[in-house]
């Protein structure tokens, strides 16, 4: 069964600091990869996704993620965070290579940005 690991439970950064959140998955076949964000009091929203092609994908609000197949990783990055990035970030994976389209989520990383 697919599993997703997010290494950081809670990250605290000052504004303008760079961000990298780790995500690793277990299934070795074809995967679709997602980062969702949940701002306080709001629902899960898509930040970015990778299906195929260029392994460096750009999403909304200046976020990007790099798919490294050999490392089973899909880390999220942002060069300079803002206070408004305070939220919980979830990495999620579907496994179409296994005929499964359910999202398997990581535990989430809470990001707190200090002004």
């Amino acid at each position: 069964a697919q599993s997703v690991s997010q290494h950081n439970h809670h990250v605290i950064l000052s504004e303008a600091a760079s961000l990298e959140l780790g995500c690793n998955y277990s299934y070795g076949g074809t995967v679709n990869l997602f980062w969702y964000v949940q701002y306080p009091g709001q629902h899960l929203q898509l930040l970015l996704k990778y299906f195929s092609g260029d392994p460096l994908v750009k999403g909304i609000k200046g976020f990007e993620a790099e798919f490294i197949k050999s490392k089973f990783s899909f880390n999220l990055r942002k060069p300079s965070v803002q206070w408004s990035d305070t939220a919980e970030y979830f990495c999620a994976v579907t496994s179409p290579g296994a005929g499964s389209y359910q999202l398997t989520f990581g535990k989430g990383t809470k990001l707190s940005v200090i002004p």
């Binding site: 629902h43 979830f90 499964s100 389209y101 359910q102 398997t104 989520f105 535990k107």
Partner: protein
């Protein structure tokens, strides 16, 4: 921008009671999903639904759970006899096509079983 909506936002029920959680997916979407998140734990997949049939379900989705699309707009999750451990946030999602399409989530229903 079209959104997935869910009602109610909060529901409190007694153990053993039946609850129905309602969702209105995005109007041109064909695939529907339920997920849940127990406090402090991961978001977990429950079930996916397409063309009036369950496509996938997890081990959590046992005989106590059922899903239905009673009309052209609503998608419901029924829990027949709630248990304390069913207390969680339940999220509905929809996607236009299953293969490689983004799932769009509703705001969730927080269910508390007493």
């Amino acid at each position: 921008e079209p959104e997935v909506t869910q009602t109610p936002s909060h529901q409190v029920t007694q153990m053993g009671q039946e609850v129905i959680l309602r969702c209105v997916p995005i109007s041109n979407h064909l695939y529907f999903y339920w997920y849940r998140q127990i406090l402090g734990q991961k978001v977990e997949f429950l079930v996916s639904f397409y063309n009036n049939e369950i496509s996938e379900k997890s081990e959590i989705f046992d005989d106590q759970f059922s899903v239905e699309r009673p009309d052209g707009s609503n998608f419901t999750l029924k829990i027949r006899s709630t248990k304390l451990e069913d207390s969680a946030m339940y999220f509905c999602a929809s996607s236009a096509r299953r293969a490689g399409e983004t799932q769009y989530f509703g705001p969730g229903t927080r269910l508390l079983v007493l």
